[in-house]
């Protein structure tokens, strides 16, 4: 059973990397950040940081960005997210604003940090790029809401089954 699970995880890595590259190419849109924010505090920290480290370095290598850049951006954003939760709690109706900020800053910080780490210059961020990033943030936020709804409905249906058994 463990072998099967391991095999499944390995295949998932390849599929996920394919999808990440594909969406990046077509829409300039990252699945990595969506998965990251959805996994945060939903899986054990050890698995979460393993995932961030592995995919972070993988993306750095394949996208020719500075090694450790993705990891660092996520680390900073996780820190920021924890701070944001102080103002907009996780249980709040406005919790998705945090998600939006997280994703929006991911794109901005990725560009900035890569430029700083690789070329030691601050990148010029144009209004067009900002607009695209806002759109990507909104879209990603929509996906996160959808994922939450699906997870919630799955949980409810499991709970409902339990009641019916009684």
């Amino acid at each position: 059973m463990n072998i099967l699970k391991t095999l499944l995880y390995i295949i998932s890595i390849f599929i996920f990397f394919f999808l990440e590259s594909f969406f990046m190419k077509v829409f300039g849109f990252s699945l990595f950040v969506i998965l990251t924010i959805n996994m945060w505090q939903r899986v054990k920290d050890i698995w979460f940081f393993t995932y961030i480290s592995f995919f972070g370095i993988l993306l750095d290598v394949m996208l020719h960005t500075a090694v450790g850049m993705h990891m660092s951006v996520i680390a900073i954003l996780i820190l920021l997210l924890q701070l944001l939760y102080l103002f907009i709690p996780k249980e709040s109706n406005y919790k998705y604003i945090n998600v939006f900020i997280f994703i929006f800053l991911y794109y901005i910080l990725s560009l900035t940090m890569n430029s700083l780490l690789k070329e030691s210059v601050f990148p010029s961020i144009e209004s067009k790029y900002l607009l695209h990033t806002v759109l990507k943030g909104i879209l990603s936020m929509g996906i996160c809401i959808l994922v939450d709804k699906i997870l919630l409905s799955m949980r409810n249906s499991k709970g409902g089954g339990g009641i019916r058994l009684k």
């Binding site: 390849f14 990397f17 394919f18 999808l19 990440e20 590259s21 594909f22 969406f23 990046m24 190419k25 077509v26 920290d45 940081f49 961030i52 480290s53 972070g56 370095i57 993988l58 750095d60 290598v61 394949m62 500075a66 090694v67 450790g68 850049m69 990891m71 660092s72 680390a75 900073i76 996780i78 820190l79 924890q82 780490l117």
Partner: protein, 273 residues
């Protein structure tokens, strides 16, 4: 008891020094090791993903510019139709006519020809054209392209008409068969050149010709011309193929290969009386 709780709650803080270490390692030769390892495994997937993405982008661009492609496609079809007309002109040796307008003047000078665009092709052997009652089109009017027969107007609306092609099951005409070498441009007495008479009828997929004389020396590629009282003039329909060879039969039959692919027609002329 307190330490594990703190560790769990602020574990992300421990991750920051790890990131710094990785960044620093990136400036060492360790980066090359990482690069080789990951590239070896993931480069093919990355390339496939990018190629797939590129294809999707190409399709996206194609879809975005689809209106211009349609225009281009239509103009190309017009060009194909024009070339086919030129080809048919060669068959029947219309040397002096290149443009459709010129052809219409040539055909029957006492007739008026109305240019019409094909709006729709129906797989049942009908076309809808963009001229109708307002343009004095009447039921039974002949629709042609150059010297080639396209069909007859079957139903007339205000601004459009339904034309039954020879492919339609509702179409049947009397025809004559001439040798493929006959020069139709010369003013010959056609009756002396007729190999056989026959009747064509549509079967949606093809045009069948029947009642051909059993004694006629018919050959594949002979010209099939419509000579029907309802059409009032002689028009080229196509060439004869698949001639039956049944000696027991009292007549022969075959298939007419139209000189046009009707589904590609864009412009036709209605002969208005």
């Amino acid at each position: 008891m307190r330490l594990p709780n703190v560790k769990g709650k602020y574990s992300y803080l421990f991750f920051i020094p790890v990131c710094v270490v990785v960044i620093l390692l990136g400036y060492t030769s360790f980066a090359n090791v990482l690069n080789k390892g990951f590239s070896y495994i993931f480069s093919p997937i990355y390339r496939i993903a990018l190629e797939s993405g590129e294809r999707v982008l190409d399709w996206g661009e194609a879809l975005a510019g689809v209106s211009s492609y349609i225009e281009e496609y239509k103009s190309m079809q017009e060009e194909i139709a024009r070339l086919k007309i030129e080809n048919s002109e060669k068959i029947i040796d219309y040397e002096e006519y290149e443009a459709l307008k010129e052809q219409e003047q040539f055909l029957v000078k006492d007739s008026e020809y109305l240019e019409a665009k094909v709006l729709q092709f129906n797989s049942q052997g009908d076309i809808i054209i963009n001229v109708g009652r307002k343009s004095y089109v009447e039921e039974g009017d002949v629709v042609i392209l150059g010297k080639a027969f396209i069909g007859r107007v079957f139903d007339v609306g205000e601004d459009s008409s339904l034309v039954k092609l020879p492919l339609s099951k509702a179409s049947n005409f009397e025809v004559i068969i001439l040798d493929s070498e006959v020069d139709l441009n010369e003013k010959n007495k056609l009756d002396s050149l007729v190999k056989s008479k026959g009747v064509v009828s549509g079967t949606v997929d093809s045009i069948v010709i029947e009642n051909l004389s059993i004694n006629a020396e018919l050959e594949e590629g002979d010209l099939v011309l419509i000579r029907d009282v309802r059409v009032k003039d002689i028009f080229l329909l196509g060439t004869l193929v698949n001639i039956s060879k049944n000696p027991a039969s009292t007549y022969r039959e075959g298939v007419v290969l139209p000189i046009f692919e009707y589904s590609n027609l864009l412009t036709v002329f209605v002969k208005v009386e």
